[in-house]
């Protein structure tokens, strides 16, 4: 395993400690619950927005705690939903009279932990709701009742509710907004390589030199199918073919287009993908109103990318455009 790591068991806490050391004024770190929270949270005049999930998806979610984004994140270990207790304790710490919104990507483990955590917090009189995100079209909704996964599209939901909550929206209003954004968001991912969890020390699957995993998730699990590696343009075309008809996105629509790197792919390649996607959408009469090219939700060191579309309306556009401040500064 070629990684910057000390004891693999300490990987997540050491990362969180680093994050806290780098942001002493804005973030607070509570080691007992892997909790990263805004130093000024909870606030009485604001619903607290919380996300948890496994680790290994950085910058999601611990590195997007900040003004206009998350009030807190409580990650579990690498690719493992946080234990229910973390959710419960986090919810208690973030309790605001206006309520707590728990954002959950749709996975069995996450849903269970957050449902149980919510129940326990509610039983103590805390106002708390759960919003589930499920944007991955690679998983067919009908076949498995656990349904679609939540992947990089998660960013748009959290950005929108983060902005709205900053502007004073109440819990029900945030549920409305988040649900609406989730409903118009679709993603699809492709992996060129497997990722290596520090504790495992070897790649989660083997891919041939000319193979890709098509319809991959963000936890190193294999994808929908294995395909031959093709050109960047052909891969984008295939991703669009999976994503566009699903909502569907139609000519005349204005969209946000995200090319999300999965961790090991350099941003130069992401822009090569972006170029094709933008052009192909234009050919279908779909206008890219907002563009996002970077790492948003990764799968450790996996080389690969996902494509996300969000159908914009004025409200979503405005919320996505709102200023936000997070730990992951580039410049």
């Amino acid at each position: 395993m070629k990684k910057f790591v000390n004891d693999p068991k300490a990987f997540v806490p050491e990362m969180l400690e680093g994050l806290a050391l780098a942001n002493p004024d804005t973030l607070r770190y509570v080691p007992d619950y892997n909790l990263i929270m805004r130093a000024d949270a909870p606030r009485d005049d604001k619903v607290s927005i919380v996300q948890g999930s496994g680790s290994g998806h950085e910058p999601a979610h611990v590195m997007v705690v900040g003004k206009g984004m998350l009030d807190a994140a409580c990650p579990g270990d690498v690719f493992a939903a946080p234990p229910m207790d973390y959710v419960y304790e986090t919810t208690k710490l973030l309790a605001s009279p206006k309520g707590v919104l728990l954002l959950v990507n749709n996975y069995t483990g996450d849903r269970m932990a957050f449902d149980m955590g919510r129940e326990m917090a509610e039983s103590e009189g805390i106002k708390v709701k759960v919003l589930t995100i499920n944007d991955d079209v690679a998983v067919k909704d009908s076949l498995y009742t656990v349904g679609r996964r939540g992947v990089a599209g998660n960013f748009f939901v959290l950005k929108a509710v983060g902005a709205a909550s900053e502007q004073g929206a109440g819990l029900d209003e945030l549920i409305r907004i988040g649900t609406k954004v989730n409903d118009v968001t679709r993603s699809f991912g492709v992996a060129l390589t497997a990722c290596t969890p520090p504790a495992k020390g070897s790649p989660l699957f083997d891919l041939g030199a000319d193979e890709i995993e098509f319809g991959v998730g963000i936890h190193g699990e294999p994808g929908r199918e294995r395909r031959k590696l093709s050109t960047a343009d052909a891969i984008v075309d295939d991703m669009l073919e999976a994503v566009v008809p699903d909502l569907p996105y139609r000519g005349g629509d204005r969209v946000a287009l995200m090319i999300n790197g999965l961790g090991g792919t350099p941003i130069s390649e992401l822009y090569v993908l972006y170029r094709r996607a933008h052009q192909q959408l234009a050919d279908r009469g779909i206008t890219v109103g907002r563009s996002y090219v970077n790492e948003y939700c990764t799968s450790l060191d996996m080389a690969g990318a996902s494509l996300t579309l969000v159908r914009l309306d004025d409200e979503i556009d405005r919320l996505l455009a709102a200023r936000a401040e997070v730990a992951v500064r580039v410049f």
Partner: protein
Amino acid sequence: MSSDALKQTELVVRTIAETAVENEKYFGDLDAVVGDGDFGYSLARGFEKLLEGWDALDRTDVGTFLKKSGMTITSRIGGTSGPIWGTAFLRAGIAAGDSAEISGEQAVAMLRASIDGIKARGQSDVGDKTLLDALVPMADTLEQQLKQGRSVADALTATAAATREAAEATKDMVARRGRAAYTGERSKGSVDAGAMAVAVIVERISQVWSR
């Protein structure tokens, strides 16, 4: 079971915990095939915590002991396994209640309570390619063996064999729950990590019991 039900419960729980810790890599590798490889790590870290706090666990009665164990597990194990395994321990503890002695019949009832808890928590059932596909045959065999008047040790030996067979049989199933389900038909051809963990654990319990 016997009048020292608590001792035996402790033995079983401790064996589960130690087996989970010792098999971290094996269980993780099983989960890596069509899952995300964290199953072994999650179990090992959680049960490590249980062992760390072992002496301080409330031993008022078997029920309390199991419930406290379940709470530690739920609070410390992440992923799908935390809630699933925690629920199993909690439900077994509730089923045991404050009875000082645990009959064979009651032990099976506790196991059934665990299974029902997992089904409810996981919205899953036999045939979904999960640990239930090992647990249910395990409970069936144990019940049958005890009803036939076998000693606990003999019953466990037979149960361990049946459970392994059941776990192996998950190989031909298509996953309908958990992360493996995302791969659809590709989940065929490898055993379910949770089911195999149950098989390995029962084998260990059977061995330890006979000593």
